[in-house]
Amino acid sequence: MKLNERSLAFYATCDTPADNEGFLYKKGGRHAAYHRRWFVLRGNMLFYFEDAASREPVGVIILEGCTVELVEAAEEFAFAVRFAGARARTYVLAAESQAAMEGWVKALSRASFDYLRLVVRELERQLEAVRSGGAAPPRRPRALPPKENGCAVWSAEPPAAAAAAAATAPAPAGATPGSQPGPEPPPLPPRRRASAPNGPLDSASFAQLHEWYGQEVRELRSQWLKSQAQPEGGGEA
């Protein structure tokens, strides 16, 4: 399959702060050695470089649909990025400290586009509710992946699956690592409502990157403030 690799490399090395970065050991294959690589997480893409100064990634792991688990491995602070499917690869990675490992597992579990979309929709719903005058009672957290409960497995699966898994697998806080049931193929992500706009940003013009995003946010804020302007006072521009 062709892929716009140059654009990927550009995305990997752009100036905006990464969602997580650091050295990890990556297992080459089932019986292969670990290689120390510089990892950069951006969005739902986990890039890895020869070292922190490299301009071009060695590779990328597309994280959509993965689950992240702790694993029993010879290497300390090891965890796995696992995909569903018959011949799917499992990426075994190892951090250099307990804190780094936990940081990575948390960050990777929440890295999917699907997860982000769910959170955005929930906030949209709450904002709409508040705007239309009512209080916004937060929907019961069943709608989103459960908070950390001390279990070793954090799932990037869609919330229906995560909630179902949490319900069927009794897992008290502080459970020992690896106590979750084996990975099942995640269900298909929920279909997006065709009529739900993502926001008022339908035809923002594209200038250079930072200016555009900054402009976007300023426009939205000003639109919102104008819509809230009181008759006797002027709205802020």
Binding site: S7, L8, T16, A88, R191
Partner: protein
């Protein structure tokens, strides 16, 4: 660059935001228009030969620019090389606008900005951080400071 192609193929089989047969022309000089099944899934645009199950290719839609092209088409180009354009031809102006809107909203980075905006608005209006109930208020990726001025 190595990448997990099997997972990308699996992703191409997921339910799509948008899918349609469009005319597509690659960025190389002298390339011709071909009919392709074009499918938007998360932040990837897949394109298939109309009778094949596996995609010919995929475009990651981060840091890209969507531009209207006459008559009823649009192009996708990327920040690092704005002159290199993937052209798409729609069957109507309406379809074209629909695709352009969907593609502009399809990046992870756009979603992130939306989240930060909604979070900020809700915090101002209710005095509470809406992400706290989900246990993610501390996540680096959702901080306002992540947006550069």
């Amino acid at each position: 660059m190595r990448y997990n192609e099997k997972e990308l193929q699996a992703l191409s089989r997921q339910p799509a935001e948008m899918a349609a047969e469009l005319g597509m022309r690659g960025p190389k000089k002298g390339s011709v228009v071909k009919r392709r099944l074009v499918k938007l899934v998360v932040n990837f645009l897949f394109y298939f030969r109309t009778d094949e199950a596996e995609p010919v290719g995929a475009l990651l839609l981060e840091h890209c620019r969507i531009t209207q092209e006459e008559p009823s088409g649009f192009s996708i180009s990327f920040l690092e090389d704005p002159e290199r354009k993937y052209h798409f031809e729609c069957c109507s102006e309406e379809q074209c606008q629909e695709w352009m809107g969907a593609l502009r909203r399809a990046s992870y980075e756009f979603m992130r900005r939306s989240l930060i905006f909604y979070r900020n608005e809700l915090q101002k209006m209710t005095g509470k951080d809406p992400l706290e109930q989900f246990g993610i208020s501390g996540e680096a990726r959702f901080q306002l400071s992540g947006l550069k001025a």
